[in-house]
């Protein structure tokens, strides 16, 4: 196979799916928050929840469209660029993709219209149901897609002959060894990402002293969620890592920067992993701590990269640095949540302006962590697409490099423009601020135009 086409297809896939994953994370997270607001409004009848609800539905809609259009790209790209992969794996994970469409995408697509435009047509209860359906669809989508991805990491429930996989057990293939960990960690990541978007926007209002009533309610809620989810995520990440150690030890060795297999492995804090020399340069390490974290024992045995020939090692520096960045961000956002708790106990949560400013700029962090996490997962799996069985170079379609180069260039340009447009319009919605209504303090059907009218437009 043409090595140029392989490399271009990999770059294009990594770029397009990396771009895509930001939007599901956003929509899973924000739709969860919307459901929560909806429940609070229905239970308390406080107008502030209703105002928040309408505001977040606007922002949700903007990201939803991005998720859809970039997702459609991927479902076709798998066949267009990865024909060899599709031909080899589809007896096992092909139906996962079909089931994803049937159980998740249609659900979202069927109810998104009612969620965005149907408030006045269906009444409160049905509108709530629609929001739940959309949030549920997003979750179910993650279920199937992560089952497929996890199967590629830790394949199970299959037989392999003549370069093709055949199914042996659906249950083991779906609930393969890494799936529960990956699903829990990714879904939590998405809720954290959505939550920090809320923290960012509400923190911005607190910082600038605007829309204070709404900002306080939203900020307080989001900070409670962060306080629960960020430590949970660190715990889940640790569990996920120990699962990986069991099934993909070489990936973990790349994450940790461990070259030699030994007991009492040190924890490498910083280094430049040098693949040519098969060792770390400029290493700064803490003795034995690596074994303790990974195996929960000072003298646990941890495999090193040299256990396999260099040709079977993943590109170590990417995995190594991406992992550190992700974990670093995990710690930082946990500290933000803790600081929030301290300020809350001191009754200074809403009027500590430097903290509000910090929060206003924290929104991108979880998204960055998500990209880093996926880099660890996917690059760490190299040189395989299906770990231990199918090599990336055998997965690609017989394409002309020029064709892939053309589409890649277009993706780079178009996606950059899309991102700019998203930030442009999202910023406008945020600057315009929520529309405050102070009608009766109980839920009532919402008027058309008013609720669906975008920011900056006359409503009726």
């Amino acid at each position: 196979m043409n090595p140029g086409a392989v490399l271009l297809s990999r770059v294009q896939f990594a770029f397009t799916i990396g771009f895509h994953i930001l939007w599901p994370a956003y929509t899973i997270g924000v739709s969860g928050f919307i459901v929560l607001l909806n429940i609070l409004w229905l239970r308390t009848g406080r107008a502030v929840y209703h105002d928040l609800l309408r505001f977040w539905i606007h922002l949700f809609a903007l990201g939803f469209a991005m998720g859809v259009v970039t997702g459609v790209v991927i479902s076709y790209e798998i066949g267009m660029n990865w024909g060899g992969y599709a031909a080899a794996v589809s007896n096992v994970i092909g139906p996962f993709f079909t089931y994803e469409v049937m159980t998740a995408f249609f659900l979202e697509a069927g109810f998104i219209g009612i969620m965005l435009f149907g408030m006045d047509r269906v009444g409160q209860g049905m509108h709530f149901v629609s929001c739940v359906m959309v949030a549920l669809g997003a979750l179910v989508s993650a279920f199937w897609i992560l089952a497929a991805n996890s199967w590629m990491q830790t394949p199970a429930g299959f037989t392999f002959a003549d370069g093709k996989f055949q199914i042996a057990s659906w249950w083991s293939a779906i609930f393969n060894p890494s799936f529960p960990y990956r699903f829990a960690h990714m879904v939590t990541a998405a809720y954290i990402a959505g939550d920090f978007v809320v923290i960012g926007v509400m923190g911005f209002y607190l910082w600038r002293g605007r829309h204070l009533e709404i900002a306080k309610t939203g900020f307080s809620l989001a900070m409670w969620i962060a306080l629960i989810l960020t430590p949970l995520q660190i715990f889940l990440g640790d569990a996920h890592g120990r699962n990986t150690l069991q099934y993909q030890p070489i990936k973990v060795a790349a994450m940790e920067g461990d070259w030699d297999t030994k007991r009492g492995q040190p924890l490498v804090v910083f280094a430049w992993p040098d693949m040519a020399a098969q060792r770390n340069q400029y290493e700064l390490a803490i003795p034995k701590l690596g074994s303790l974290i990974l195996t929960h024992s000072w003298d646990g045995l941890v495999e090193g990269l040299k256990a396999v020939p260099p040709a079977d090692q993943p590109p170590v520096p990417y995995v190594f640095y991406a992992f550190r960045l992700m974990v670093g961000i995990g710690v930082v956002i946990f500290l933000i949540a803790l600081a929030g708790l301290v300020l809350r106990l001191l009754r200074r949560l809403y009027d500590t302006r430097p903290f509000a400013a910090l929060c206003a700029f924290s929104s991108p962090l979880p998204f960055l962590a998500i990209l880093c996490g996926w880099t660890v997962t996917e690059v760490g799996r190299q040189p395989y697409v299906v770990y231990g069985y199918l090599r990336t170079a055998d997965a690609v379609s017989p394409l002309k490099p020029s064709a892939v180069a053309t589409s890649l260039a277009l993706f780079l340009i178009v996606y950059s423009a899309l991102l700019l447009a998203f930030f442009w319009y999202a910023t406008r919605i945020v600057l315009h601020g929520p529309e405050i209504e102070h009608p009766a303090e109980h839920p009532l059907a919402v008027r058309p135009g008013k609720d669906s009218a975008p920011a900056g437009q006359p409503a009726d």
């Binding site: 479902s75 267009m80 469409v101 159980t103 249609f106 069927g110 975008p454 900056g456 437009q457």
Partner: protein, 335 residues
């Protein structure tokens, strides 16, 4: 049982493609006609008439693609690389039109840009789908399960005709949708646009129907061999009848009729296509049986398909009901 599953999935595939072509057809058709509409208010109304349902319409495309990977992976792995560039362009078209739904109504100065993105994206998607259709009919050369080349390449006189044909057909669906779903000036515009769209659709359909058997002896034998010839004259005759019906009903009282008859026209064309290409999943080299995933895989998928698709149809129907009746100014986005 195992032998019948490929037939079941061929039917499911045909169903998915039909749902896609019709539902995204009127949706893309509105985009194709978008810039021709007389006023900004018409464009607002046109977009709002599909805003709550466009995602559902497009999901049938994803359904088709993923049904292919689940049930006919050999076709998925050969057809998609074979049409790499037209499909990539189609995706870009869908990206532009998809995000335009959200961004156009939020734009003030940039509105024109999103008008063009919506219209250009829709037209590009429709045309490239037509290109793919044309070169699919032309055939794909497969050796050892790997695609080697499209018979004549993807950009030929024939594929350009199929591309333009689909463009006209979608415009017809879009125009008659407007007749049904809108009133006033927008509806009048729909009526005006439907005539030329119908004429062009028929001309292209005729050209394609003459050209295909000339180029492909397989198709000629299929169409004109006995005993098929005794019943294969029925779809063309019905198509002419449907077209006449559209023409007659366009200015009539029953405003849903032109749209419904346009759907009939599309169903007949798709039926013709199916009859022509059967039993090939990849014309004219791989049959549905050869393209199939293994029997346990198809069984697993069939169970879910039988149960879930009716549920999907039920709630999609519900969503359509919620937005039934004429689209009013001031609902949906903007206002």
């Amino acid at each position: 049982m195992a032998h019948d599953l490929p037939i079941f999935f061929a039917i499911a595939m045909a169903f998915g493609v039909t749902m896609y072509v019709i539902s995204d057809g009127f949706d893309l058709g509105i985009g194709i006609l978008f810039l021709l509409a007389p006023a900004e208010t018409d464009r607002d109304l046109m977009m709002n008439s599909v805003a709550p349902i466009w995602d559902g319409n497009e999901t049938w495309l994803v359904f088709g693609g993923t049904l292919l990977i689940g049930a006919f992976p050999v076709a998925y792995a050969t057809v998609l690389p074979a049409f790499y560039l037209p499909l990539a362009l189609m995706l870009f078209g869908l990206i532009f039109r998809g995000v335009a739904f959200e961004y156009r109504f939020r734009a003030t100065a940039g509105r024109r840009v999103w008008d063009w993105a919506f219209s250009g994206g829709s037209a590009l998607a429709a045309f490239t789908q037509g290109l793919v259709l044309g070169s699919y009919i032309d055939g794909i050369i497969v050796r050892n399960g790997v695609f080697v080349g499209a018979t004549h390449g993807v950009l030929t006189g024939f594929t350009v005709v199929t591309g333009l044909g689909l463009l006209a057909g979608y415009a017809l669906l879009g125009a008659t949708w407007l007749v049904m779903k809108t009133g006033g000036a927008t509806q009048a515009f729909g009526r005006k646009a439907a005539g030329p769209s119908l004429a062009l659709s028929l001309i292209f359909l005729l050209v394609i129907s003459v050209w295909t058997p000339i180029d492909h002896p397989f198709v000629a034998r299929r169409w004109f061999g006995a005993p098929q010839i005794y019943y294969l004259w029925v779809p063309p005759v019905l198509s002419v009848a449907a077209a006449y019906g559209i023409w007659r009903s366009l200015h009539g009282e029953r405003e849903a009729l032109p749209f419904l008859l346009s759907i009939v026209l599309f169903l007949l064309a798709l039926l013709g296509l199916g009859i022509t290409l059967w039993p090939y999943a990849v014309p004219y080299s791989v049959t549905f049986w050869q393209a199939s995933s293994s029997p346990p895989t198809q069984e697993f998928l069939a169970v879910g398909t039988v149960i879930i698709v009716p549920i999907i149809l039920a709630y999609l129907a519900y969503a359509h009901r919620v937005f039934r009746g004429k689209t009013q100014a001031g609902t949906g986005y903007g206002g």
